[in-house]
Amino acid sequence: MPVRTSGSTESSPVARRALLDPPGGTLMWIVVALELGAFGIAFVFIALLRRSEPALFSAGQAALNPWMGLGLTAALVTSGWLAAEAVHACRTRAFVRARRFYGAAIATGLGFVVLKVIDYVSKARAGHGLGVNDFWDAYVLATGFHFAHVLVGLGLLASVARRVGKTSFEDEETAIAGTALFWHMCDIAWFFLFPLFFLKI
């Protein structure tokens, strides 16, 4: 993991890296590419459903609140920023600061989880869920797939936060920058799920 030598407060990695030495490690970039590919296929199916069944989609969207979607986005984006700050603090060996950022990133990530659970419970109580129609199948499966990734990402962040500055990692780049990379992938996937489901036809 490259360590800054200047006193600048700019972004940590200043030198351009080799193709086979990406920030976060090659393995995590392969994982991210595969996951984004899977999400991309889901986005295309959702877009096709939007186009082929506009009335059904519009009826389903009536139960969704765009401002709730914006709140979920804000929680994820905030958590992503804090995770990026944690990685930067680790790169500058400021581990106490890094642990604070990790804690804040996990807390805001849990905010997303709480909001999403509230969303799922309220929809279930209103009779919306798997098997109701194509819209709710797509909504539950696509956002559920994303939700599972968020839970995994939070687990990864927590496992790194617990160890950072206390014990050494066998592969520090993958452990620190790689887990944050996975977390940012969750951000990117949500950026597309949000308008596809929450913006009205």
């Binding site: 700019e10 972004s11 940590s12 990695p13 200043v14 030198a15 351009r16 890296r17 080799a18 193709l19 990406p22 920030p23 976060g24 970039w29 590419a33 984004l36 991309g40 986005f43 295309v44 877009a47 096709l48 939007r50 186009r51 765009p66 401002w67 979607g69 914006l70 986005t73 804000a74 984006v77 905030t78 992503g80 920023w81 995770a83 990026a84 700050e85 990685v87 930067h88 920058a177 944050a180 990379l181 940012h184 951000d187 990117i188 950026f191 597309f192 949000f194 308008p195 596809l196 929450f198 913006l199 009205k200 036809i201």
Partner: protein, 69 residues
């Protein structure tokens, strides 16, 4: 720079809701993905081929979705 990107991401998300237009919102989603990639995923310091590949993937995804919807 990371904080500036964070504020830009929030502003773009708000913009997507306020416009309410799906094609614009998808373009904004692509912009947000590129910002996260460049700054938070540190592609600014990655190999050019890697950064360009990521940008191309996002651009293709946005274009495909905009054409479909």
């Amino acid at each position: 720079m990371r904080a500036v990107v964070y504020l830009a991401l929030l502003a773009l998300a708000l913009g997507a809701v306020l416009t309410g237009e799906l094609r614009v919102a998808l373009a904004l989603a692509g912009t947000k993905a590129l910002l996260v990639g460049a700054e938070y995923m540190e592609l600014r310091s990655a190999a050019r081929l890697h950064a360009l590949g990521f940008a191309a993937l996002i651009a293709v995804l946005v274009l495909v979705l905009i054409v479909i919807v």
